[in-house]
Symmetry: C2
Subunit: 509 residues, 2 copies
């Protein structure tokens, strides 16, 4: 071997070694999981709901990683999932509501007062141009281009059928198991083929899991087994991987995970709530199985695990039992709402080599922050994206528990859509902004601004707008300016075609 060849070989070996040291990354994304749906307390103290649920593996992850107590998603799923993939705020990417499996089928409920806002109801289409869909560079494509092996398992729900975003491969995934256009499973039961029943398969029938059909394998378990299977190749080939394990759990239909449901029934919970709790524990077992697998394969120390939910816990009755809008107490309301119950979610991050075990970060972070954070973790620099990225990396918080660079950064939610037939607390036509401890909530229907101090009043019970008009003015201007800059979808009145006022155009009380 001559010297040049030897040098070249050494160079490639060094490069390969450097590449092999890049951390593996797992996003463990849960559907519809509320801030209280866990035995890990994300509030200041252990609440009754924390005692109801059993999530020992989340407890372990919290002990070994960082707990984010002020982590946010959007009120519903597709906006959050698209923010995670693109780093854009929902008001900016324009997918402000959940997307139908059908193309050109806006999911807004009919309303007497408002015309439908011009949102991206065909969802996210990756780099393809599709009418009424978001065109933006996807996170997995960037990771894949940087050498990562990219895997999606579970719920996708990025684009309607017939659009490129309906197929996770088009977002840069190299493996897709069970992800398509639907936002929930037809069935969680292997005995029911996850919905693939002769003559009865709906568009929500889960694809790809034929091997588990007719068995007792619960969907959460099947996805876990498939995720683990998909990791074997990259681990053997010493290739860094990005796994997006997006469970269908704990979204409705609230079916029992039979491995866990009995103890919740025995504890006296009504059937729906026992089912709900069993869905949570099944999801938690998945987390544990995955962590055990990483340890057994000797890659746990070089794998970052990011636990997240895509919106607050569902609190409609039915399908839940009990009192509507109470299932995330002390947080107000639930899924679909811009109140904390709809948007504040459990988030845990463990980066064995860099995170401070058992620490707590109380700085506000939001779902679009995953995009720059994951790229930073992966060491991907000088990223070229079609879109302007709104998210900020939370990686500094992993080692120091503060993000430092911008403690007063405003976070924005914008939901100019009608989610439910009947308006609820913070549900249907709301925007909101949080800056520091202050949160402004804007009802487009009522043309009303509310102001809460989350530090003193996490339950958003005491509207301080009258006492702090300057704060209302400041936040409404911040919110409105950003909505204008982002060209966020806005409503118009049916009666006269006028645009609904921006928050800073609303007359203060």
């Amino acid at each position: 071997m001559n010297k040049i060849a030897l040098l070249a070989l050494l160079f490639f070996q060094l490069k390969a070694t450097a590449q092999n040291q890049r951390p593996n990354i797992i996003v463990f994304l849960i559907d519809d999981m509320g801030w209280m749906d866990t035995s890990v307390p994300f509030g200041d103290s252990l609440q009754p709901l924390n005692k109801r649920y059993h999530t020992p593996n989340m407890e372990r992850l919290a002990r070994e990683g960082v707990k984010f107590t002020n982590a946010y998603a959007t009120p519903v799923c597709t906006p959050s999932r698209s923010s995670l993939m693109t780093g854009m705020n929902a008001a900016h990417h324009g997918i402000t509501n959940w997307t139908s499996p059908w193309r050109d089928d806006p999911t807004d409920q009919a309303d007497k007062e408002f015309e439908r806002a011009n949102w991206n109801y065909n969802g996210y289409s990756g780099l393809s141009e599709v009418p009424h869909a978001l065109q933006a560079t996807p996170l997995p494509m960037l990771l894949n281009n940087a050498g990562y092996f990219t895997i999606h398992v579970g719920k996708a729900h990025w684009g309607s059928i017939g659009t490129p975003g309906s197929n996770p491969y088009n977002l840069g995934y190299q493996v897709n198991i069970a992800g398509h256009s639907a936002g929930h499973p037809q069935s969680y039961q292997g005995r029911e083929n996850y919905g693939n029943i002769p003559g009865k398969a709906s568009v929500q029938a889960v694809p790809d899991l034929q091997e588990y059909h007719g068995t007792d394998t619960f969907l959460t378990e099947a996805l876990t087994l498939e995720a683990i299977k998909s990791l074997k190749d990259p681990i053997e080939n010493k290739r860094p991987f990005f796994l997006h394990l997006a469970h269908y759990a704990i979204h409705d239909p609230l079916q029992p995970d039979k491995r866990f449901v009995q103890k919740y029934l025995d504890a006296g919970l009504p059937a729906q709530e026992a089912n709900y709790a069993s869905l949570i524990e099944g999801m938690d077992k998945s987390l544990g199985d995955l962590m055990k697998f990483l340890e057994a394969r000797g890659v746990a120390n070089n794998t970052v695990v990011l636990f997240m939910s895509d919106n607050g816990g569902l609190s409609l009755v039915p399908p839940r039992a009990g009192t509507a809008h109470s299932h995330n107490l002390p947080l107000r309301a639930g899924k679909g709402s811009v109140y904390e119950g709809g948007i504040r979610v459990p988030m845990l991050v463990k980066w064995p080599k860099n995170s401070k075990a058992g620490s707590i970060c109380s700085e506000p972070v939001i779902i679009e922050d995953f995009f720059p954070s994951i790229l930073e973790i992966a060491g991907v620099k000088q990223v070229k994206t079609v879109q302007q990225v709104d998210g900020k990396s939370f990686v500094p918080a992993l080692s120091s528990t503060t993000i430092k660079n911008n403690p007063d950064r405003p976070l924005i939610w914008h939901y100019p859509n009608k989610w439910q037939v009947v308006d609820g607390p913070g549900i249907n036509y709301y925007s909101a902004i949080r800056k520091g401890d202050w949160k402004l909530v804007y009802s487009m229907r009522q043309q009303k601004l509310e102001l809460y101090n989350l530090k003193e009043d996490i339950g958003e019970q005491q509207d301080k707008a009258l006492q702090h008009p300057e704060k209302v003015k400041e936040l409404s201007k911040l919110l409105s300016d950003q909505l204008r800059i982002w060209k966020a979808p806005m409503l118009t009145y049916k009666a006269n075609g006028n645009r609904v006022p921006y928050p800073d155009e609303v007359k203060l009380p």
Copy 2:
């Protein structure tokens, strides 16, 4: 055990034994395979094309079963596939053209003269009611209800995405591997993930075969391995099965099956034709592997194998090399045409216990005949279907080589659609009828009737209409009456909105 219990047990055992004796049924359906695309001569003598192609397993099947030399499909795929599932003629079920993967997207080329016919362009939707789709009881559902384990592997192409027919489960299949709305694969290559490439997956990317991604497994081989895998359960459980193994091969893209292509290149074929021949031989290997598996499992003697193609061989240049409309010689034209090259296809049936090995049946049969034949083979009687079934069982021919009951039964093709931008021989807006040796061809554009005697002139070169006006009259009336009874989709002129004449309304020359 008391006597009643013992009797009940015996009864169920007897019943189970009787059921176990029901034959397994395999439909081995090839896409776009022409009558000459095989080393098995379906004509009177071995032709040059029979020498070009190597299909030793088809040769074996022909030796062990019955060769149908006058077997027909329709000119393109979806109509044939829907006829097989429903027993209806295409003019009757109204899916007269291939269906788009997209819903509400008729595939007809634009035409200056004709409005689009009102055909079922959303395809076949099983028992569901869908606008512009066929509602009819599907064969696999009837078999499944009768106790058969029903499996689909490969190309489905029954309904557009978003319709129930896009999911083979809705037609009564208990297993579906790789079947969806698309009519061809994005890629046959495992190295290209069958099209599931990050950022580049089209709607033709083949689902379900993740395990073969990144490997050298050719699509035909992957489907064969999956089909064999799916048979293990029913065989072990002694449950009769119905396997619909519908290969994507040999449809365009004409990619090389690397296991076989070299010898065809060595024989001097141009690349496209070598690729084409390799697709054929790969398909033939699949047939052989399947037959070997059945033997190894000891079920070959109780398994009926039905080999069929869904239309004539593609003869457009490109993608084929050579002269357009010449690839099925001595038959005239190819896929898309109502001339013999477009509709006459290779068909072989082996029922070890009932068919006469090595025999030849020259009576005309057509794709909708599979429906009643398969039900007869399965012993399913008193079938209730939503639709009136047009097909006739060819089972009598398996033992006696004649069907006897109706040697002069007329067969009908109706294709009131524009398949290609440029009209070709028998291509775009044609109907046809065959009765005995006579075939009438009706060009809607030219308002012309042609008459051929297939016994003397299989190449349809000598139009005998002028010599046999009575035959023209008889056949045009037969064809027209049937189109009226079936309410077949008909064209109208753009100029005046008038319906295009039925054949019996055309002025004879």
